[in-house]
């Protein structure tokens, strides 16, 4: 029988939750790296016991931890994230030039082919790659050449938070940056193009044709259909059917189209999930009800999933990396909140139950389906 392993990054450490395929009884281990912010941890799909974790805090900076036994033991690996050459400046909040400064790793994305190759999305926005299991990291500076001097941080910092690898085209990578937009490379990171046509951000970015400057919160793809992308933008849920060349809005009947995460069902490429949040100044669910919304039509038509989720006095947020799916059938869905709960559904969102409560604020969720 399969085992499910849920990797939870929080403000004060990492936790690992495990269950059998029934997904009814869960055990929790941790905290790992207690007291440190764990923005993200993720396992290799090639070697699921190879895990990488981003560990940081304001005092002691950035660490990358690596496990070879599924998270039982960890070792610190390389933590030198040095920008290539002279990175120049980006725009500061007040519009003045500001030098590129490394702050932290937001997201780690292991290669689909090699457990020793892993990508790191960092703040200030850049993509680093390691080919030696995280011991050394190389900046991919071509990304900054896409008008990097005009990028400006969002409220959470100028972070590269999403990395999508295309299993059918190893040279293609998508990244998303707040608040710069989506970028795509077709040559393994040497050169990049902005992929933001069709995004409308009139309240934040008056130029409707702006190539960069869009506050993309998260993007997702189904591996079987890599030309179809879904996006939760600052406001608006968007879809692209041409690998990011153009986007159109699919917010439809959502109660709010502001939010952070977006995910795709493991077995149904047109079934997608979002968690609507009231607004950019009210980071909690509308009406105090935590509702995951599901579209079975690739957007536009949405249904609220509420069974088992708090439907009164709920004012938590679900951050951009804090929703994930497993690979079982029916598909499991996992949502972590800033209130420290992880809610799980073993039936594609029809019903939910908390599998752990009272953790520190959840920053990220990843799920491994182990044979």
């Amino acid at each position: 029988m399969s085992t499910i392993r849920v990797l939870v990054g929080t403000r004060k450490g990492a936790f690992i939750l495990t269950s059998d395929a029934k997904r009814e009884q869960w055990s929790t281990s941790g905290p790992y790296f207690g007291g440190w912010e764990i923005y993200h941890l993720k396992g290799s799909s090639v070697d699921p016991n190879r895990l990488y974790a981003s560990q940081s805090n304001d005092w002691f900076g950035q660490q990358i931890q690596r496990s070879n036994d599924g998270g039982k033991t960890w070792e610190p690996v390389g933590n030198a994230f040095v920008y290539d050459g002279s990175p120049g400046t980006h725009q500061w909040y007040d519009g003045t030039p500001h030098p590129w400064e490394f702050a932290r790793v937001w997201h780690l994305e292991p290669s689909l082919k090699d457990p020793d190759t892993v990508y790191a999305g960092v703040e200030d926005a850049a993509l680093f790659r390691s080919t030696d299991g995280g011991m050394t990291w190389q900046d991919l500076p071509g990304l900054r050449e896409v008008k990097g001097n005009l990028w400006q941080p969002g409220a959470g910092g100028m972070c590269l938070h999403t990395i999508l690898l295309d299993q059918n085209n190893p040279e293609r990578i998508f990244t998303a940056i707040s608040a710069a937009g989506v970028f795509r490379t077709d040559d393994s990171g040497k050169t990049w193009r902005p992929m933001n046509q069709g995004l409308k951000s009139s309240m934040e970015l008056p130029d409707p044709n702006a190539e960069v400057g869009h506050c993309v919160h998260h993007i997702a793809m189904h591996p079987s259909r890599p030309n179809v992308l879904f996006m939760q933008k600052h406001w608006d849920v968007m879809r692209s059917d041409d690998a990011g060349e153009s986007w159109h809005e699919v917010s439809g009947n959502l109660p709010s189209d502001f939010g952070f995460p977006i995910e795709v069902h493991t077995h149904e490429p047109d079934t997608i999930y979002v968690v609507p949040i009231t607004s950019d100044s009210e980071h909690y669910p509308p009406d105090g009800k935590l509702r995951v919304y599901r579209s079975r039509t690739g957007g536009d038509e949405w249904e609220a999933l509420t069974n088992g989720l708090p439907q009164q006095n709920c004012y938590v947020n679900v951050l951009r990396d804090a929703m994930a799916v497993d690979s079982l059938d029916p598909c499991g869905l996992y949502v972590g909140t800033t209130g420290g709960q992880v809610y799980a559904s073993a039936n594609a969102g029809d019903s939910w139950t908390p599998i752990v409560r009272d953790l520190p604020a959840v920053l990220s969720i990843e799920v491994q389906t182990l044979p």
Binding site: G35, W36, N57, D58, W59, F60, G61, Q62, Q63, P76, N79, A80, F81, V82
Partner: protein, 98 residues
């Protein structure tokens, strides 16, 4: 022998129990003590001073002999009591609360 006391998070990171004892050849300065510490425990690189600039991280403080040495130059000599091992060199996470 130079005695260095690290904050709990860094002791845990480097799997250190108690003080670190370091041999520093020649003039004993903050910079040389940190060089020796990082050579012994490479995972501490970047945690006390910046990888690129080698400047002290903003929320790190250096204390010794009941003095705050955080703003002393990295190449300034440390007090004799640190050099001869009678007093430890303290690396401290700055207070940040409210």
């Amino acid at each position: 022998m130079i005695r260095v006391v690290l904050p709990a998070h860094l002791r845990r990171l480097a799997k250190i129990e108690g003080e670190v004892q370091l041999e520093v050849v020649g003039k004993v300065t903050q910079g040389r003590v940190l060089d020796a510490l990082e050579a012994r425990h490479p995972m501490l690189q970047g945690t006390i001073r910046d990888h690129a600039t080698h400047k002290r991280r903003p929320f790190i403080r250096f204390f010794a002999c009941e003095r705050d040495l955080s703003h002393e130059p990295l190449d300034a000599p440390l007090p004799d009591a640190v050099t001869n091992g009678s007093e430890p060199f303290l690396i401290v996470g700055a207070m940040a609360g409210g």
